[in-house]
Symmetry: C2
Subunit: 267 residues, 2 copies
Amino acid sequence: MYRIEGMRETLHPHPSLPPSRGKGHLGRIGRMDKLGCLYGVGVGPGDPELMTLKAVRVLKASPIVFTPQAAGSKDSLALTVARNYIDETKQQLIYAEFVMGGTTDDVWSEAAERIADYLLNGEDVAFLTQGDPLLYGSFMYVMVKVQAAHPQMPIEVVPGVTSITASASRAKTPLVSHAERLAVLPAMYGIDDLRDVLARNDTVVLMKVNRKAMAAVSQLEADGELSRCVFARRATTPRERIEFSLREVAPEETDYFSMLILRGKKG
Amino acid sequence: MYRIEGMRETLHPHPSLPPSRGKGHLGRIGRMDKLGCLYGVGVGPGDPELMTLKAVRVLKASPIVFTPQAAGSKDSLALTVARNYIDETKQQLIYAEFVMGGTTDDVWSEAAERIADYLLNGEDVAFLTQGDPLLYGSFMYVMVKVQAAHPQMPIEVVPGVTSITASASRAKTPLVSHAERLAVLPAMYGIDDLRDVLARNDTVVLMKVNRKAMAAVSQLEADGELSRCVFARRATTPRERIEFSLREVAPEETDYFSMLILRGKKG
């Protein structure tokens, strides 16, 4: 049982923790008399202007920047958002390549090991995450691995604007107010119980909507069981698409970054 | 069925919509040949550095700033966060005073009427909201009223970092990953079915935690039914308090801005 009280800023100055002497993952001795800090940086939903002031400051000050990148993709989405704040003549940019929707544990283990290496050498590392680092963000896998191997390592998480509130903002659609309940579920892992979830919550957000989920929700909409049905894809990016009925959305327009904001018809 | 495609920026330049000629709520004629834009500005969870770049830009450019304020309180929380970006020699600051947890519909109706008056005069209005404007934010009440009275009025919502991800970030506690489900419910409106909600979701966030909810969750924790129990109050503010067991939290330390992040023990 431990506590955190009051605000702590760990970038300037660094927490003065003892360096790891041969006990770190790689058995390395810190180059400087301090450890680096691992920053999980939420860069927000897509519009670079929706980065926080803190994300920008931390990113600019970090000598090492890790960015997740889907294998086979030319771009890292998080990097596209943050690109303007990275100076590759002064900062080292490292891609952690993963397979979208695939088994990625090895990727994050390798990234965590490389990151620990930099941290033990006293260098700060920023790990970019689209949206928020701890809400379906890849940072948490890396964070948990670094925490497990190096419990003493300074870690700071910079929260970001999520795609959920960004989608609602672009659609000007209230999510929840007052006594209402919100459920968030990743549709690609199954929504067989969607009717039940709609009945138990006021607003239901389906993330990672695939064609099967689109078909199921289209049926609910056609049956008149929804009082609200907002489709949002890549909100706040140049490829944004917002629709207020699934009748407007062809199946091939749905991708991994598609989302639905639903409300059922009550009573 | 309407759609929004591609990014739109409405602050510079203004959307050139026709002014309301006597059809507005107050029957006023626009002073200039355009309407103002209503901005719902999410200022984030409390740390001013967690404002987005866009929130700062919009706020600085808005001649009129509305801020909600609890009746009897000396400070507006949203205003405390945004204070550095408001110049009262150039911008008009207006307080919308409401009773915390009380019936506030009249307050928002009055605020919406005053706001519409400025908008019809061609002046942009920024309405501050702690966290995000559409997730338990007071902005949505105002937005809905302005939309109903003036469907043609330009409105833009600037999403903000929520207290949910901010609390998780300060506790370094993952919220949900991969196939996991998240439920968010305001505890002060009842959690009699909390065991059921915990069984149906991987992570449960209780907002607006009162003493009754604290007692109920303390009992669950004592019974060994929780695998995670994080108490977070006013995360990222100077009054932040984070605890990893309710045994550390006295009932009087709980307030309207207290939150719990819970995970049940699975079968």
